[in-house]
Amino acid sequence: MSEKQKDFIRIRGVSKLFGDFVAVDNVNLDIGRGELFSILGGSGCGKSTLLRIMAGFETPTAGTIEIDGVDITHLPPYERPVNMMFQSYAIFPHMTVEDNIAYGLRKDRVARPEVTARVDDVINLVKLGEFRKRKPEQLSGGQRQRVALARALIKRPKVLLLDEPLAALDKKLREHTQFELMAIQDQLGVTFIVVTHDQEEAMTLSSRIAVMEKGCFLQVGEPKEIYEYPTSRFVADFIGTINMFEGTVTQLGDETIIVNSAEAGTNLHALGDHAVEVGQHVCIAVRPEKIFISRDEPENADDIKVRGVVDDLGYFGNLSLYRVRLSSGKVIQVSSQNRQRSAKRFVEWEDEIWVSWRPRSAVVLRD
């Protein structure tokens, strides 16, 4: 089967209540075979709970989960074709690295020579060779993370669940490990579901991302799609930086809508067949890198142009960040690539400038 199975995991109407508290709220989701799928959300939004439901540690209050066509909703954890890497790693402190990794196979009564061979394989995969006889407390944080990964991978699960796999590592190691994780996933072709609250991590790692808030999925899509076409204020704000202009729809064209925004001090055009009505309150959102700065009025008549004053600027090597105060008093962020090498800045503090962007760079967000 060369065609990737799109609904390898099918989550249908899954909810979880703790008393009155809704931790997971009617989640529907398909995940394809071999995907590296991220669930992204702030603290307490229900990410871990959803993962624990998939692993079998929580029973959903409603809904079903199927993996590879088999309903696993009511299977105990030890009968699921799923393994989990815990946020705390949960390495058995009384066993050596080797015994930790072999544990899953021993529980399955796999023959001893095969256990040895497979342990060797995974230990090589995660580069733990010289540590195999050690006890967990003699390992560094990064090494423990590898033990946890190896232990969860050795049973060749259909799905590997990873709860904040990199959160306990320092920044440098985290970036390095990210790529290793991706390489291992690519090599084994196992479906990974990664929970994270780090949006950069989710953007780099994943084939697709689900953004979660208060137990609900707000948006599911490829990283680029989520970044460029957020469908809600929460998602737009949560992923990267974005400028938002509140306003009211005044005119609807075939492809464009016109929004009157006091915050921008002008009418804003945006593209798209958005399901909005005249008079509706909406928000126009523009990413900082989609906005241009110029000293003179931009010539292109279609562009949205607003006057402003440079409030603050910062030089970050590859790019410059500007904070621009518009005449309405609203401060927006603009970023631009430093393409030319020059010691002289082309704008300075308190310079009067123009900011402009293409209508199709703007996203219309309803409430």
Binding site: G56, M84, A90, G104, K107, K155
Partner: protein, 296 residues
């Protein structure tokens, strides 16, 4: 240099304190007991012969120990004490483990209350609590009345003044000493470990034996020692709840000392008891030391 010296000095002082404590309150009394155990009983004040006679030469005897080793009564009593203490320790462990586990896994708000309930009996005199058991166990006590009322039996069953009563009494008295150290180890244990074991294919029972039990070992050992050692020498429980024929070593000790006023023999009984208790402690300590070595 001066700072290092000062630290050395402090280290010595802090180490010296427990050693001094042991010397004054353990080793010294032990030496006195040992000395008495090697004397002959006399009707005098004190009721034993001095270690050195008038000529200043050493006058000691191993008679008391020989008597202990040759008289079958003592061997039987020691054995019975060991059996009783072991049985009580096992029952305490069987009851205490689930209790400690339950408390450790309960919500933090209820945990305090449950722990308080475990400690609460200590607020009432030990003697009173054992008396209360006499009220529960006697022929017209709560338990017999209840069983008759339920129709399980029609004649009262003799519960009080039996080995069974001693067994119940010991278990009841020392259960908190099992629960508390077990709770301390189980509470520290990460619940993720059990879930990880289940995730990797272990059933609940397997996860218990593979993860919970080995990680609770330190608590199990501490709890068992805290129950077994005092249960071995227990006097009040067998005296109040046991029959005249249920001779345990604590009671024999008391009788030799206060009834027969045979201090040398009583001291010999004590020394033997101590030897019997030291064996398991040394064994456990060795075990623990080896484990710590292995971990390092």
């Amino acid at each position: 240099m001066a700072a290092v010296k000062q630290r050395d000095w402090w280290e010595r002082v802090t180490i010296a304190v427990p050693y001094l404590w042991l010397l004054v309150f353990f080793l010294l009394p032990f030496a006195i007991i040992l000395k008495i155990s090697l004397a002959d009983p006399v009707i005098a004040q004190p009721p034993f012969t001095p270690t050195f006679d008038e000529q200043g030469s050493l006058s000691i005897t191993a008679d008391n120990f020989l008597f202990l080793l040759t008289d079958k009564l003592y061997a039987v009593t020691y054995l019975k004490s060991i059996v009783m203490a072991t049985a009580a320790t096992i029952l305490c462990l069987a009851l205490g483990f689930p209790m400690a586990f339950g408390i450790a896994r309960s919500a933090p708000s209820t945990r305090g209350v449950l722990l308080l309930l475990i400690i609460l009996p200590f607020w009432i005199s030990f003697l009173l609590r054992v008396y209360a058991w006499m009220g529960l166990l006697n022929n017209y006590g709560v338990i017999n009345n209840m069983l008759i009322w339920l129709g399980v039996i029609d004649q009262p069953v003799r519960l009080l003044y039996t080995d069974f009563a001693i067994f119940i009494g010991l278990t009841y008295s020392y259960l908190p000493f099992m629960v508390l150290p077990l709770y301390a180890t189980l509470e520290r244990m990460d619940i993720d470990l059990i879930e990880a074991a289940q995730d990797l294919g272990a059933s609940r029972t397997e996860a218990f034996w593979d993860v919970t039990w080995p990680l609770a070992r330190a608590g199990v050992i501490a709890g068992c020692l805290l129950v077994f050692i005092p249960a071995m020498g227990e006097y009040v429980v067998p005296y109040l709840l046991g029959g005249p024929e249920s001779l345990l070593i604590g009671r024999v000790l008391f009788d030799e000392f206060f009834v027969n006023r045979d201090w040398p023999l009583a001291s010999a009984v004590t020394i033997m008891l101590l030897l019997l208790l030291v064996a398991p402690i040394v064994f456990m300590q060795r075990n623990q030391a080896r484990e710590i070595d292995a971990q390092q």
